[in-house]
């Protein structure tokens, strides 16, 4: 395999607008963005509540979340597969090997990342934020929104990290999506497949896209944090 030649072919594929290739990219972005849109509001609310409340079982919940943070995506895929397969609890929903199943899997993968980062950001907020909003007469919801706004760079880091994790995960997408061409085949599953078939150019092209996505996300975060760092 000539690496230079493969890379050249990869760029040709990308810039010639190869429909199959762009369909794969479209599936990846659509599934991951949908999962993020679903997971983010809930996860931020959970992270905030875990940070500011005290109740029995709070520590256990935080530890459980930390545990989920490190759980392999293929295991999440396996559990979801068992739940969604015909004999599974949710088998009647016929969701296995659909984009919806991939979205559900990515929501489960994104949640603990978002919760953990939000929790940490809110915990690190200056305690005077809460006291000031309270003293100025803000409701609990307004206090929460103001606090989250004050730690917005931490919350953004949560969103970008979670997106980075879901867009690049392969285990769960492969298990519950099934890597069906034009339907559930996304960038990571396609890279694995094309490489195993010896089609390195397509694998490399998709690898570039994934890398570019990761870089854009990280540069955006660095830029925004840079702005915030001036505070």
């Amino acid at each position: 395999m000539d690496l230079l030649e493969t890379t050249r072919q990869a760029f040709v594929l990308l810039f010639s607008g190869d429909p199959d290739l762009w369909a794969i990219i479209f599936v990846s972005i659509k599934v991951s963005l949908t999962a993020m849109l679903i997971a983010t509001p809930w996860a931020i609310a959970i992270g905030y509540l875990l940070a500011v409340s005290s109740f029995r079982g709070r520590t256990l919940l935080i530890q459980l979340n930390q545990g989920l943070l490190a759980s392999p995506t293929v295991v999440i895929g396996l559990v979801l597969y068992l739940l969604l397969s015909r004999q599974g609890v949710f088998g009647s929903l016929h969701l296995l090997f659909t984009r919806q199943a991939m979205v559900i899997g990515q929501v489960i993968i994104a949640l603990p990342v978002l919760v953990a980062f939000t929790l940490s950001a809110v915990q690190s907020a200056d305690p005077r934020v809460h006291e000031t909003t309270l003293s100025l007469g803000a409701s609990r919801v307004k206090t929460a929104l103001t606090t989250l706004s004050e730690v917005r760079f931490g919350v953004m880091a949560a969103v970008f990290s979670a997106f980075g994790r879901v867009v690049s995960e392969i285990g769960c997408s492969l298990m519950v999506g099934g890597n069906i061409a034009g339907f559930t085949r996304n960038i990571p599953t396609a890279i694995a497949l094309e490489t195993s078939k010896g089609e390195f150019a397509e694998g490399v092209a998709l690898g570039f896209v994934l890398l570019a996505l990761a870089l854009v996300v990280n540069f955006s975060l660095a830029f925004l944090q840079g702005e915030g760092g001036l505070r």
Binding site: D126, R128, S135, L136, S139
Partner: protein
């Protein structure tokens, strides 16, 4: 309750407050009463419980409170009611300004109270002029000096027209000019109908006209000192009556009560 009776009642009267951290009692006060129109300087060594007292009254900290009455009405300082939040405002020693801009900071409390936009703008403009921060409106909040932040925080509090201001060491760690500007604003606050309770060491604040001194020692109010010159001595003979029985009668620095 009729109007006349309401006027006679202290703004805030607390029979007793106790606050312990483990075995250490940081506050053990009896018979605290603050009257509308009164200005009180809460003095005492570091750790005497000044900030704790302010924070308990502001509902930011819990304590054992025996019968608190606000304008003659029993209040629960632990389950701090929303209506009381609108009457009492606490300003930190180092105020926190939201990372928006000065105008948004000052209008924050008005927004959460649902004040109409036009009225809000008018009040905020007036507060900006009062705090003399017009020239800072384009500066990022993070670039403001400690004194400028303090002035914005005082404007943010004053714009809400609370009946009780609780200021925690407002001039601590300020340079001479900032201190003078802050003291000038505090003097204005003391001239409104609400009460002002200021935890401080600053002799210039303690000696402001009409300022009553409450000295905390070992968690108790050890002395109550009356002012050299009663509040609004010039042109308002009723001022000393407003300041409360036993507090504003004397004209010299001397202890008038030992609790």
């Amino acid at each position: 309750m009729n109007e006349a009776k309401a006027r006679d009642e202290p703004l805030l009267a607390i029979e007793a407050i106790r606050k312990r951290f483990g075995a250490r009692t940081v506050l053990d006060l009896a018979g605290l009463s603050l009257h509308a129109g009164g200005s009180y300087a809460l003095t005492g060594d570091n750790g005497a419980g000044k900030t704790t007292l302010l924070r308990v009254i502001a509902g930011l900290e819990t304590a054992e409170v025996e019968r608190a009455r606000y304008r003659g009405r029993d209040v629960d300082l632990l389950g701090y009611p929303d209506w009381l939040r609108r009457e009492v405002i606490y300003v930190h020693q180092h105020p926190y300004l939201f990372s928006t801009n000065i105008r948004d900071n000052i209008s924050y409390g008005l927004k959460v109270r649902g004040t109409a936009r036009r009225e809000r703008q008018r009040l905020v403009d007036e507060a900006i002029r009062w705090a003399r921060v017009e020239h800072l409106l384009d500066s990022p909040v993070r670039k403001l000096s400690a004194g400028e932040k303090q002035r914005v925080a005082l404007a943010r509090a004053r714009v809400l027209q609370p009946r009780l201001f609780l200021l925690d060491e407002p001039t601590a760690n300020l340079d001479r000019e900032s201190r003078q500007q802050t003291i000038s604003l505090i003097r204005d606050l003391c001239d409104v109908d609400g009460a002002v309770l200021i935890a401080c060491h600053d002799p210039e604040i303690i000696q402001l006209p009409g300022m009553l001194r409450l000295h905390l020692h070992g968690g108790r109010i050890e002395h109550r000192w009356s002012p050299l010159s009663p509040r609004r001595q010039q042109g308002d003979s009723a001022a000393s009556d407003e300041a409360g029985p036993g507090l504003a009668q004397g004209l010299h620095w001397q202890p008038v009560a030992n609790d």
